[in-house]
Subunit: 407 residues, 2 copies
């Protein structure tokens, strides 16, 4: 009997209205791999001239589709097909894993009269089980009924408790450029279903190297600034697909800045939705780090706090145990001046210059800890580096989801 | 109402019989700082010529006693006094924290007619609360009733559910050398009580620099090879005190090797007892890593597996979810060749050369997962590095201890 997951208290109230994006066509299908009663396969056909930028897991045990798509993004000038399946990650599957990707790529390429590297592949789900590429490719090619963004977001879900999407538009040279994305993920990894996947689509016309640079930069402050349980997936994939349907090419500094801001907005929105569906969460936590050596060091300190089981359990228990935050800064391995370090929870300064403030009154902080959204700010007295990191708390439900039910 | 902790199922059945060690005198006392109904203060007086080696937390937020004792070990030729209090860590206490250590050092030194740096100090307990050094020093000096190793081990306990000690002896040049130690710790940190402390005492005669080198080396494969919850304390302290009561000086290579082996035995024994008292544990887990770049890389891979919440919860749930082990290797940041990586649980090889073995039968592995001691072996196909790492699982009781009760 599979575990049914309680819907996150932070779930979006409704799925956003997303305008169609010219130059792309969404299809979903049921491949029958794991889920029998829902679509588990997302396919997107792109018209000519769509370019793709991708950022992939840093795991030394990447899944076969990660290997495939990392190479495809480098080799192919344009992308024609995106295929994503949920339920089997095709990770740690050896030669059979590669053969599955070859089958998917070649069968689709032959049928569509394109190059195999024009097929971008991603998979999420269980690790170590063989996946039938022929079956996937056939299901993908048989999907001919157009689907919506909402269908797409639902088809890639695994342990997710709500479908995740975000949309915006900008004006450049009098033209409207649409930027819309979907994502899935609820543990950074839960190999018996898990992984973070995010796909953003835009009708913008932009050179691939420029897009790749923007996507890499945007990832740092969005998807790389979130953590649920410190576990990085073998399959994390973030792809941005630009269909080149607008007249104007995004190439001036000011247009690039505008486009990057929109990309950042959608990426951050999707990243926060993933945290807000964190396995078993009861609190959404924002951690601001200031006065670090540089922004990267600040992010590492923030992640050290965010990943500390003792900080996460204290917040779950609504305990303003700020000593655990100090200990988590200390263990980060990043420069921090203890005697200049300060800590605030919510708007209350608790400790400053290496010690608790005089006449510290815990009562308002204890009351604040009962909120569903908790903000922590630390300053470490080294330099100007800063970062914001987002995470969830660690609860009995996390243990229940990950220990009490067999995969 | 304070939480009472269930005694660990791995608790030692009885406290070992430990012979007195010449040149040292144990006293315990109740300082009244936190615990009212038990001794919370350990004092050891050393005769002349005792030397000390120490290894301290790598936290950038070290407690005041860590600052003090790290300096004392460097400054003082010999140690005369060890004072350890449980219940208040004197960490993140600013100037007041330093003044507490100065008070303790100077009051004891004046009374005993020794140098302040001959007083080795350690504290464990809550972070951020002021500690009264005068009170500690007076309690310490008033303790005149000799105590046993068992009294000593009990006096330094916080959330520990059993007193931890180990003892051995070796023969060098016809003389018996005694080596006995005590330790406390049950989360790597639980700042509302916590921290790892270990003290080993020996009657050996050995130069301080030689002792320091041995202690540093031994720490790598004992205390640095264990983890409960990945959280490093502000106060971790490991001190080895040699009272120089034997005639023979340990200085030949063969004598040093023999002595180092005994130190390693006691350190590892104490380290494993700390894991076996890990907060809320239901399983004791040993992780062997082979074929890593070097031993340090192997240890990092082992700790990445040991600290993975998803591995720890899978083991708590008796789920042979080996995909989570693969993911934890992958996220370690250490070199690993996916296509040469293998994983065993217990004696069963599950995956080899980057994929599950043919005809893998999960049934015997699922049965093995019901054992209270679980062994995992991974080989990562890079080089000859190896390491063994020890940890506990992540259970509802861990959450209960750390989230359900206010500190």
């Amino acid at each position: 009997m599979p575990h049914t997951y309680k819907k996150s208290i932070f779930a979006a109230a409704y799925f956003p209205t997303i305008s169609p994006i010219k130059g792309m066509h969404i299809f979903t299908a049921n491949s029958g791999v794991k889920y029998k009663d829902r679509d588990d396969l997302l396919c997107v056909h792109f018209d000519d001239n769509a370019v793709t930028a991708g950022v992939f897991t840093q795991s030394s045990m990447p899944s076969a589709p990660v290997d495939w798509s990392r190479a495809a993004v480098n080799k192919a000038a344009t992308t024609k097909f995106l295929i994503v399946n949920a339920g089997n990650a095709n990770a740690f599957t050896g030669k059979a894993g590669l053969e599955c990707c070859l089958d998917v790529g070649h069968i689709i390429a032959d049928k569509m009269q394109i190059q195999p590297q024009q097929v971008f592949q991603a998979s999420t789900g269980v690790i170590g089980e063989p996946l039938d590429g022929k079956k996937l490719a056939e299901s993908a090619l048989n999907a001919t009924q157009p689907s919506s963004f909402e269908d797409a977001a639902k088809a890639i879900m695994t342990t997710d408790t709500f479908a995740k999407a975000a949309t915006t538009s900008i004006e450049i040279s009098g033209e409207t450029i649409h930027i819309s994305g979907i994502a899935k993920g609820s543990g950074m990894i839960a190999p018996n279903m898990g992984t973070m996947l995010a796909f953003i689509f835009t009708d913008a016309r932009i050179d691939q190297p420029v897009l790749q640079k923007l996507v890499t930069e945007v990832t740092q402050e969005s998807f790389n600034a979130i953590t649920v349980d410190s576990d990085t997936s073998t399959s994390d994939t973030f792809g941005v697909f630009a269909t080149a349907q607008t007249q104007t090419q995004i190439k001036t500094d000011s247009d690039i800045t505008l486009f990057k801001q929109a990309l950042m907005q959608i990426s951050t929105d999707l990243a926060l939705q993933i945290v807000k569906d964190g396995e078993g969460l009861s609190k959404f936590i924002t951690i601001h780090v200031k006065e670090a050596l540089d922004n990267q060091s600040a992010r590492k300190i923030g992640l050290s706090i965010a990943n500390s089981p003792l900080v996460k359990t204290a917040i779950a228990g609504e305990d303003p145990n700020w000593g655990r935050i100090i200990a988590a800064i200390g263990k980060s391995g990043e420069p921090a001046d203890r005697d200049l370090t300060s800590v605030s929870i919510g708007d209350t300064i608790i400790a400053k210059n290496g010690a608790v403030i005089e006449h510290y009154n815990e009562a308002p902080v204890a009351a604040y800890m009962q909120s569903s959204e908790i903000s922590i700010t630390v300053s470490v007295g080294i330099n100007q580096g800063q970062a914001t990191v987002y995470t969830s708390d660690l609860t009995h439900d996390y243990i229940a989801i990950n220990a009490d039910y067999r995969s």
